[in-house]
């Protein structure tokens, strides 16, 4: 749940079911969690799976400290980070990934993979992800491939001059 809440902070989505706690419901449509962030984080190729338990524990410790510092009451039904309101989750993630935070490498890696799950579906073959309507690629309007699984765009140019060339352009096409 904790890592789901982290991924949902990076690319937020709508709640999957009314009692969903890890997904805060801060945006319409599916977010990083539905896009497969946990699956990607747990993929051996990503190289971070072994550290996830520690990162979740540390995130909840940071959340507890954050709540104490900011006077937030956390219910005990869910991990501390999950119990934070969305804006508080965002503020904490911003601090953890900030340029001067000593643990930033770990949190940045977690954020990068959360993003990649949504923006590229890096845990899936892209053609399969698109065929199954992957929420991130669909949200971005990523075009589908040709039937052979390769992309081609036969129409690609306005086909007319649209600016004057630099006066110092040489025969090779570079500047003098």
């Amino acid at each position: 749940m904790t890592l789901e809440a982290f991924a949902d902070t990076i690319v937020p989505g709508e709640k999957r079911f009314p009692a969903d706690r890890s997904v805060a419901g801060a945006a319409s449509g599916g977010g990083a969690v539905v896009a497969g962030a946990i699956e990607l984080l747990e993929t051996p190729a990503a190289g971070v799976a072994g550290g996830l338990t520690d990162l979740a524990r540390m995130l909840n410790e940071h959340a507890t400290a954050y709540a104490r510092e900011h006077g937030r009451d956390l219910d005990g039904d869910v991990p501390a980070f999950v119990a934070l309101a969305f804006d508080d989750r965002s503020a904490l993630v911003r601090a953890l990934t900030g340029p001067d935070h000593p643990e930033r490498d770990g949190w940045v890696a977690l954020a990068l993979f959360s993003n990649m799950a949504f923006d590229t579906a890096a845990h899936r073959h892209t053609t399969e992800a698109i065929a199954e309507g992957h929420v991130g690629l669909a949200t971005m309007g990523f075009a589908a491939p040709d039937p052979d699984g390769l992309w081609r765009f036969p129409a690609y140019s306005y086909g007319r001059p649209l600016a004057d060339l630099h006066p110092d352009t040489t025969a090779s096409g570079s500047l003098a």
């Binding site: 190729a45 940045v108 990649m116 899936r124 765009f153 306005y158 086909g159 649209l162 600016a163 004057d164």
Partner: protein, 538 residues
Amino acid sequence: MTEPAGESFAVEQTDVLVVGSGFGGAITAYHLAAGGARVVVLERGPWLRSDEFEHDFMLGSSYTRIFDFVVGDGMALLGGNCVGGGSVVYFAAMPRVPSFVFERKGSIGRRMWPATIDRAALDPWYDRVEQALPVSRNDWNTVTYAGGLFAAACARAGHTANPVPAAVDNTLCTNCNWMMAGCRFDAKRSLLLNYLPGAIANGAEIRPLHEVQRIARTDDGGYRVHYNVIHDDDYRLTNGSGAIDAKIVVLAAGAGATPVILQRSEAELGAMPHAVGRYFSGNGERLNTAVIDEDKARDLLGVSRPDGSAFRANQVGKGPCVASWDRLDGSLPEYSRFSLEQLYFPPGFGTILAQVPGPDGPTWFGPEKKELLRRWQSWLTTFTMSEDDNEGEFGAPPPTGNAFRISQQMLGRGPIRYRPTENTLRGWAESDAQVKEIMERDGLATVLPWSNDVVGAYTVHPLASCRIGDDPATSALDDRHELRGHPGIFVTDGSAVPCALTVNPALTIAALAERAVPGIVRAARQRGVAVSYGASLP
């Protein structure tokens, strides 16, 4: 190709050992092999055929097998990791460097380039590379929608804009925009299509997944090059190690790796020149994402596509096609000169660092960022190449390679440290302002630069970490690319380039490698290698 040495254990021998198979390695390997030398090329990445270049973002596809993303302290480096090196993953924009760049003084108060090199001196070598790859000029019929829209926006703002020369065969290109995963259609003229097959035809041996770790000296004045064999899927693992003796070593492992190999070799080779691992330049690179207002694009620029839309073509194309060079004006003060190039980065690299204005300033994640992603097809990315201050430095080398690898492929943590100076920051600010002036005019788009808070600054063109020059205090190599104090070791990759170039550097790295070959041949002959210079182009 090689023979056992008469020592206590069998060490292979060759005439010339080339480290890396990108522009600096492939070009030297070709000429030396064609001239009759025994050449072995050690490449740390895999060797993929054209039909293995996949259109797929999945971890483990060609996209992550052949690409490296090394995050340092304040700077992240993107580069090739395969046979063919950067040429396999690059966007193939191939402009020549404007004349004023060769006169740059940077932070050292004297000309950074060797006195023997200026634009006129390099032009014949540019000619050769343009012919060999080949490079051709885009025209307005091959310029993509994104390039065209950028050109039209430049023109409307009173600027010129040029179709850029590129190593792309437009008769084969499908405008798929998967260039970073390798070109499936052989349209991109990588080294896999010219210099490398030429080298192989002349007897050069190319060994993929061989990562050079360090270099030692041999009793006969040559060098022993130690390597690890890298696992073909999980690059964190090694499948053994070995060594090869050579009379000449050509280091071309890339600006992010060459200085690391030399640093690690210092205990056995002796002191390195001060400039090894210093004066690193990220080519002054900077990215801005514009989100185009489709109606404004139609009304203000008069552009439309066959399907009736004005733009919505972020995904369509082949990397950079158009650049605006108005600020490449030698009369302007140093650090105020830059080019702006229209560019495409695929999702992932191309989306994560893009920012939206947040309540406390721009942000790169959260609900507003997701709204920005909904308009991804209307994004247009611009690429700044400016004059930075050579302010990067490499720390202590990691145990192996040039980074502590995190993922099985692609992602690692490296020893580079970069803190942009006021000069560099000023150039970025001036270019950001010009991008805004062009793209936000009359509401055409909204623009923000990418965040430097996540992985620091970033570069796809690392340079200058082992540079040529005339001053031994501030250059690691003489003007023949030989490592000072270590005769017989030459460096011919981007690390040899003295400074940021204000344009894409691949053509210049290649031209410098071509230029270095006669000197390497002479050095090889002095060491008893039967090799001549003068082969025709591959």
